[in-house]
Amino acid sequence: MPTSLIDADSVLAIEIGTVSTRVILFDVVEGRYRFLGQGVVPTTLGAPINDVSVGVKEALDQLHAITGRVMFNADGQFVVPSQPNGTGVDACVATVSVGPPLKVVAIGLLEDVSTDSAKNLASTTYAQVVETMSLNDRRDTVERLDTILQRRPDLIVVAGGIEGGAKGSVLNLLEAVGLACYLIPKEQRPEVLYAGNSELVKNVQESIGTLANLHIAPNVRQSYESEQLTPSQPALAQIFRLVRSRQIKGIEEVDQWTGNHLLPAATAFGRTIRYISKEYAHTHKGVMGIDVGASATTVASAFSGDLRLSIHPGLGLGENLPEILNQCPLADIMRWVPVDVSENYVRDYIQNKAVFPTSLPVTTDELAIEQAIACQAILLAVRQASKSYPPELPGSLPGLLPWFEPIIASGSVLTKAPSRSQTLMVILNGLQPTGVTTIALDRNNLAACLGATAGVTPLLTIQSLDATNFVNLCTVISPLGKAPIGTPILRIRLTSNDAIVSEMEVQNGDLTAINLAVGQTGTLHLTPLHRFDVGMGGLGRGGTVKVIGGMLGVVIDARGRPLRMQAEPSKRRELLNKWQEIVSSGQH
């Protein structure tokens, strides 16, 4: 039974991913939430089962074998809250990332203003914008109607009209939406999310409310200058839940266990990152979470509680993998491959991986290719995500990542890599952080699950955001500036307990690792040369920074930003392998 301090004692978290379904049981032991056990099975979306709840129940069987906890009563009903006989749990949360991206038609008044906002809003869930419409596209109502009927979207996002702005034009655009909904059979009608001028809400409800599955959200474009996506995300999460319940057998049942609070995994991941950003507000830097999954790559960037969520189904490592070749040339992936394989081989690998998305890289060559693809997926996802960042962030320079503290990495390709140095190289090459930042690894892939539990028991989330689950990989210092390769650009002295642990001079182009035992605190004294910026408040400004030893010590990444790779393949591979060895040298 719940205690006075804790809202709900036992919590079951369910994650239905593209590859795996996982159930995790938390309970209070000695006044603190503890991880009691988990069950993991392959997701049962596809043939022969075609019902995700079957996989969830298999995972619960595993959990029962480990913990002895019985979740179902004699009638086979899931029990929540728990009963005095110990059956069931006090709360159940669930996240879902499995399934095809939602097909979205994004509608706005002006193509590069509100239509962009509608597209950006769609990118905060697992969605693919299949069509955009705006006043500028010169289509009439009937052409728009026919386009919607042909596209058969799952969701139509309508933005448009700043507060106090245009009204008639918005309603004209909605005419096609209303007609389309009228013509589409009721059970196949798309969800419609109106996130435009709030003065029109009543008119919108009157004009299409009876025809469409209409949802209302706050205006994403209150003014020309500002875009506010976060307030609309609960409505979008609700729509995702409804569409997935219709599309995928078993989702509705699991959703009922959660009291209809099932969340998109990326939304839950974003919640966790937003929470951490509030805790780190004193650093005046953002917090970034990057999750490389089979269904999508998710970038959650939060600035003192202001979350910018960006989900990229086209950059998932599963069935959609070939989509990455539409977003970049193959050569952009090849630059991260440290083994001697041909472009054809890598392209074949990508296509074969899409055919067998759950297959694992057996050889070191395949693993290297998969990690190179992950690296490029991160780079592309972050490049797109950064377009939504607030202006004038600390460390913000055109085309470069602003300062973040910390950066949290999640997803099996990163957390299950055979060595932490491989994980770090994928992150460093993909993200190319600037300034001073800590790289943490969500080693049990709990970030999304903890975002979901925050809704029912925030204490569980708070108590689980610790070094057990989020391991410190390293502190990275990335000096920025211009100097010929090989020029000394930074002097470093690392002290711990007043003793000098390490002292060195870093040259431009170097990647260097300094040993500092896990958990050991130290002070880095940084003296930049040639007006290099090390994130201490300006060009050429040095200072001291407290660091805690991570699994890979402290890394100085002076390879330059953006990172320019050798054109000659053999030299490039040699360099990639050398960097890997260097970061391995700091490993504990």
């Binding site: 979306l45 022969p48 009927l149 990508i350 296509q351 297959s359 057996v362 890599a417 055979p418």
Partner: protein, 351 residues
Amino acid sequence: MQVQITHILSGATIRRERLMPTGGRIVARRGQQVNPADVVAEAIVRPEHLLLDISRGLGLPPSEVDHYIQRRAGDEVGEGDVIAGPVGIARRVVRTPRSGTVVIAGGGQVLLELEGVFTELKAGYTGVVADIIGDRGVVIEAVGSLIQGVWGNGKIHYGLLNILAHSPDEMVTHAMMDVSLRGSVVMGCYCEDERVLTSAEELPVRGMILASMDSALVPTAFSVSYPIMLVEGFGNLPMNQDAYNILTSSSMREVSVNAESWNRIANTRPEALVALPDGVLPKALTDSAAYTVGQTVRVVSPPYKGMIGTLTNLLPGLSILASGLRAQAAGVRLVNGDTVQVPLANLEIIG
């Protein structure tokens, strides 16, 4: 844990849904014997619409117009038919510029649905119509040698099977594409030459079954009008011996190639069904099974990709792979006699 079985069988009875993208008219009846070319359903797809502004046409305010609209929702109209009016001394009318069906009439406007593209759905298989699925399509029950593939270009057709390959790893060359292949379904092993696909389009052939293909050919494969099915995948992969034997012993038999994409949610995957040779009895299909010792399995990823073997043992706990990853694995004795360790995630049960 149940996993899906990939079928490579010399004789099987299958039931396949054939569906139109939209509702229409089913022209086949339950129990009817059909050939692949027989039409089983038809529909008008992708209809266009036309919005007529009756208010403007009659020169009246919208609030006064509805009274003059002569047609109602559901009415069919021909080109030039009067749809509203007459009004005033000049007896102004609005005529329909094209024939179609009135969808909505009111508020001063009429929405017409114009005739779209007439589409016929063919049976695709030789078999019997086992069921009717509303106004969307039929279920066909068919008997034949079944080879399920891993990738398809989304097309479907049928024809007599013409064997180009002399060994499971022979490359299909441009020079092989001669006029004798016209109208047939060709079976080759590896293709890396775009000209093979384009020449086949020009002949034209009715389908192509390959073991594997260079992934650079994917855009071309999608652009051709005939079905292309890959049995193994991308890269230079030989065809597994079971599929090779079935196909090469079926020369000049009728084969249906349904190269639809592998969709695990919709339960579709590319497949070829060859008319059954005399004396072969079809087996009842089992769609899923748990991994057990003695099963025939296929490895789906390097370094043994495409190789068939027998599952010899399920390894306890997690095994460390050569890449360093840890995964549940099994021992597999390959057809070449080697016994190797393969993660379960990289195995398919063949049956």
